[in-house]
Symmetry: C2
């Protein structure tokens, strides 16, 4: 699992900070999460192939999370993209994009599908044979979802040496990978566990931005490998959290602790603070390990 942070600062793009966008690579698939202004340039800067992005997830319709979407969709067209593009985001996102496409008479040469979200409870919004994506309802000033990306368990893995010892033919391997025991020609039974290893562990990533401190998300993100939780403020400014619908670094860490996640990534920093290490220090008093997102950072988890 690999996460490339294209931008992780709140509010307005500046010369040295970018609004929210990140690329998740999970099981050889690439997912773009949020798309603030300038995301297409950040994708180029980090040499991420546009053609690998087939699914874009937008948390909410504040500008710093989606103003770059129309530009990316438009650039895909100019580059003669052929493969389908799926956009998942709050109801209204389709109208915003299609109005601009219509008025600019810049219709896409590829199929563009919108999956508009309006459920107030968690729902499965994407599934294939390797991955599921479910929403994490968040509490913010407008309708907002986080997203939980989770690998499906793979097949059991053959213990080649043990299989050889028992003279098992290769043609039975698929059956073993599915977990079955094996009836041999001599009538004996090979127990699956004797000749296979467990599947590789699955990985999971929860993206939660923007949100108030909200314990309702905890059951949804229980035990995930990596949680990205916004931390717009430090605790010294915690009174700003409720009116703005944001969290402090300490609150993010409390959620991570209560959900028993393995790693916490912080981001969506307000630029009022002199350096982002302050967020790490504050969250570190509650939870470990804390990873500080920063623009251009690539985070790998095995």
């Amino acid at each position: 699992m690999k996460i490339t942070i294209l931008g992780c600062y709140s509010a307005t793009p500046r010369t040295i900070t970018n609004p929210t966008s990140q690329v998740l690579e999970l099981n050889n698939q690439m997912f773009l999460i949020d798309c603030g202004e300038g995301t297409q340039v950040q994708l180029r800067r980090h040499k991420i192939k546009f053609s690998r992005i087939d699914r874009i997830f937008i948390s909410h319709l504040h500008g710093d999370h989606f103003f770059g979407l129309i530009g990316l969709i438009s650039t895909f067209s100019l580059l003669n993209r052929q493969n389908d593009l799926h956009v998942y985001g709050p109801k209204g996102i389709k109208d915003i994009i299609l109005l601009q496409i219509k008025l600019s008479r810049s219709y896409t040469g590829y199929n563009l599908y919108f999956h508009e979200l309006e459920s107030e409870t968690s729902e499965l919004i994407y599934e294939d044979d390797k991955v599921t994506v479910t929403t994490i309802p968040l509490k913010h000033r407008v309708y907002t979802n986080g997203f939980l990306f989770r690998e499906k368990p793979g097949p059991r893995r053959i213990n080649i040496e043990a299989a050889k010892e028992r003279n098992i033919e290769v043609c039975y391997f698929n059956k073993l990978k599915q977990g079955s025991d094996l009836l041999q020609e001599d009538g004996s039974v090979v127990k699956n566990a004797e000749v296979t290893y467990d599947p590789l562990p699955v990985q999971s990533y929860a993206f939660c931005s923007d949100t108030l401190y909200n314990e309702e998300m905890i059951p949804l993100i229980k035990d995930v490998d990596v949680l990205y939780h916004e931390s717009t403020f430090l605790e010294q400014d915690v009174e700003k959290c409720i009116p703005t619908g944001h969290s402090s670094a300490k609150q993010a860490a409390q959620i991570a602790l209560k959900a028993g996640v393995k790693n916490l990534i912080l981001g969506h920093y307000s630029t009022r603070y002199p350096n982002i290490e302050l967020f790490g220090e504050e969250a570190g008093t509650v939870f470990s390990p804390v990873i500080l997102a920063d623009d251009g950072k690539v985070l790998k988890f095995n």
Copy 2:
């Protein structure tokens, strides 16, 4: 007159090139012309005060000329802008911006006025005591206007020495500045021209992008001080001009020549060519002086 080129490349923003946007300073006023994605970051990079921008002119609704507008409007709000903002652009621009403001529930704290354009002939769209702005209808794939910014003539200037010689009181200077002759108390008449100089020369700037080669614009831009004319292609690719609605560098120079302008700025380059000097060389065979726009370039004209 000062022109800051924030971006002058066609189509998609890249790490090293920006889509169209420029700031014109004329008679101590600042006008933003076009607003491709990333314009707000370019404004910051070039240290242009956001609060000085009160009027934004959008030529047409292709993304590389306006996708940065919603972000700029939104950032103005986040920075607690108070003064009014006026946006001039094709019909539809208001719907695009207001839909996004509505869905993000990010209403501006300042007054935002839209002046939607749909005339097929040139019209006066802004006037104050020092400057006029008129449209220059262009031929492109969608409804497009160029803009002609023109200073109004200032007052005549007093020739102080000549006025002293004739014992003219200071209280008559305003009358002289307006061009009147002066009846002295002894019955003699002082001719205006004897004690004044002509007004300072007025300056004019015509922005024409995007457009096909179009001689119809010539009477509108006749004798302007500076013409910015798009040159997306070189003559070797002139067959691309008609289907895309663009011009070659040579065609831009032909317009400049026929309109008798004083200076030609080229821009809106396709990134297919190895360097932009090729545009200057081609245009230079027809017209002089040719100035090549480039991102970050500041051009001054006296």
